[in-house]
């Protein structure tokens, strides 16, 4: 049954992107927060750690890149229509 296949595909991709991306963002937030130093939720203090902070920012940039890719995916057909450029040549056309 092809629609159960589709449902399964949507579930897997949904989990990867829909749950995975928030997890990456959360990891970035933790890294950035620890790297910036200051207080933790339980009251302990942490010294600033530039490497952690950088890691945090890198993770945020990664999330931003994923979102940008998503926007390009949404507008894929429009871009092909106006410029002839297919940014996702490896993906099947709808």
């Amino acid at each position: 049954m092809t629609y159960f296949e589709s449902i399964f595909k949507v579930l897997v991709v949904g989990l990867l992107l829909g749950a995975g991306l928030p997890a990456v963002f959360a990891a970035g937030l933790v890294a950035f927060s620890n790297g910036s130093g200051g207080q933790n939720a339980d009251g302990t203090t942490v010294a600033p750690n530039p490497a952690m902070k950088f890691a945090g920012i890198a993770l945020f940039v990664f999330v931003g890149w994923v979102i940008l890719t998503a926007v390009l995916w949404i507008t894929r057909a429009t871009i092909i229509h106006h410029t002839g450029v297919d940014l996702f040549p490896f993906m099947p056309k709808k």
């Binding site: 589709s6 949507v10 579930l11 829909g18 749950a19 995975g20 991306l21 959360a26």
Partner: protein, 450 residues
């Protein structure tokens, strides 16, 4: 009089067109001109109704993208609906794929290659089916909006079309396999998948950030919320405005105003423009009642939950359209919000509200279907009696306007808007109307005693 003016080359005033359309004299000269004029008026009414449907689609679905951001304060209410309105407008313009064959999922009235009506159906019947379908969809959208119940606009439209199709053509007119594979199965799958994904995402987010101080967590996720909510609004614009464009294209193909290969050449700009504006405007005016239910009624939402919910919605909407299985944004968004409640340890989910919503979803297809069928029968009945298609379609149009106005007026009596959208939820009644507004509405009603 209309015929005389037409023959001399002047454009008759609309009321004379109406008169000549309504008065069908057997064998009278210029009768053909009257028939064409009547069809034109029906077409204009139909396009207006389609745009009205697009408008209700807009305000019904604002909440899918923005309810969580409004509820957590990530965005101010008016800013959120403005952002969503602009993104829906942009998204509608961005979509180049035309859903000309919009009815082929549920009805057997369109040729799936050209988009034209199949040979067995005459133009007048075809137009009335579309008209009645739109009316069923609009009325159900307005009714669910009045009660603040998020409901799928796509299903409302499909339901209306199915009802009208059944009334016009019987069981053979409906594409039952399409209904089951493209409407029913996705309707069950969507909220389940969304709930699962959002629950996982929320759980992960809370687990990972358990040591982060509350203010930083809230601030960080606030930005994440804005980004993901914008993604949902943009993808909604690209998907949903197309349906209305497809309906208008079908009507124009039927009356012969649109020829050529629509899939190749695309649609006339005015259709894209008007549909984009209609959905953008509807989104901006904001279905505050629905936003309130999604943002406050289902789950008391915090920033991390809102972020996970919208990320889940965006991921599922995009991946499902990539897989060719279009899911309803409302089903996905609602499932995600529920999931974000389930995923957070100690969160409160109002299952009573969720249950009410589930029931509304179950009856969307039949309810919109019944209204579509009734609209069709009424129009067909009047047309058989008077011999005028315009009388039939005109009557159901007027009834649509009347009922719509009535429901809008009822909503104004107990108003939910940007000021009270975040007011505390009334747990005693689970009504979308905040308790103080309901009390005030009761007091203004005059009582019998002097």
């Amino acid at each position: 009089m209309g015929e005389q003016m037409a023959r001399s080359g002047e454009v008759p005033a609309r009321h004379t067109l109406l008169k000549s359309a309504l008065v069908r004299k057997k064998g009278a000269p210029g009768r053909r001109i009257s028939a064409v004029s009547a069809e034109l008026i029906i077409l204009v009414l139909l396009i207006a109704t389609a745009l009205a449907f697009d408008f209700t689609n807009g305000f019904h679905d604002t909440g899918n993208a923005m309810a969580t951001s409004i509820a957590t304060g990530a965005l101010k209410p008016k800013t959120a609906v403005l952002l969503a309105g602009v993104l829906n407008l942009v998204g509608a313009f961005l979509s180049v794929e035309v859903a000309v064959t919009v009815t082929t999922s549920v009805l057997k009235v369109q040729d799936s290659k050209t988009g034209a009506l199949i040979p067995g159906i005459d133009a007048s019947t075809g137009l009335t089916i579309i008209f009645a379908g739109l009316i069923g969809g609009i009325l159900w959208n307005l009714l669910t909006w009045l009660f603040g119940i998020p409901s799928s606009s796509s299903h409302a439209l499909f339901g209306g079309l199915i009802g009208a199709g059944l009334a016009a053509l019987g069981m053979a007119g409906v594409n039952w396999s399409g209904v089951s594979s493209k409407v029913l199965i996705p309707a069950v799958a969507a909220p389940v998948i969304a709930c699962l994904v959002a629950a996982c995402g929320t759980w992960l987010v809370y687990r990972l950030t358990r040591k982060v101080v509350e203010s930083r967590r809230r601030e960080g996720f606030r930005w994440g919320q804005i980004a993901t909510a914008s993604l949902v609004a943009l993808s909604h614009g690209t998907n949903d405005a197309q349906k209305t464009m497809g309906v208008i294209a079908l009507a124009l193909i039927t009356t012969g105003h649109l020829t050529g290969d629509v899939k190749e050449d695309g649609l006339p700009f005015w259709i894209i423009f008007s549909c984009a504006v209609a959905i953008g405007l509807g989104t901006y005016l904001g279905g505050w009642r629905v936003i309130r239910t999604l943002g406050k009624g289902l789950v008391e939402i915090e920033s991390p939950q809102g972020f996970a919910a919208e990320a889940s919605s965006a991921a599922i909407i995009l991946s499902s359209s990539a897989a060719g299985m279009a899911l309803s944004t409302t089903h996905v968004a609602t499932g995600s919000i529920l999931g974000s409640g389930v995923g957070k340890p100690g969160a409160q989910v109002r299952w009573a509200v969720a249950g009410r919503m589930a029931i509304a979803w179950l009856i969307t297809l039949p309810a919109a279907g019944i209204m579509g069928a009734l609209a069709y029968w009424l129009s067909y009945g009047v047309e058989s009696l008077t011999g005028s298609a315009l009388a039939g379609d005109g009557l159901i149009f007027l009834i649509l306007v009347g009922l719509s106005f009535f429901m809008w007026w009822r909503a104004q009596q107990q108003k939910v808007d940007s000021n009270n959208v975040n007011a505390d939820w009334d747990d005693s009644t689970n009504s979308v109307v905040p308790a103080d507004v309901r009390e005030a509405a009761k007091e203004t009603k005059p009582t019998a005693s002097v």
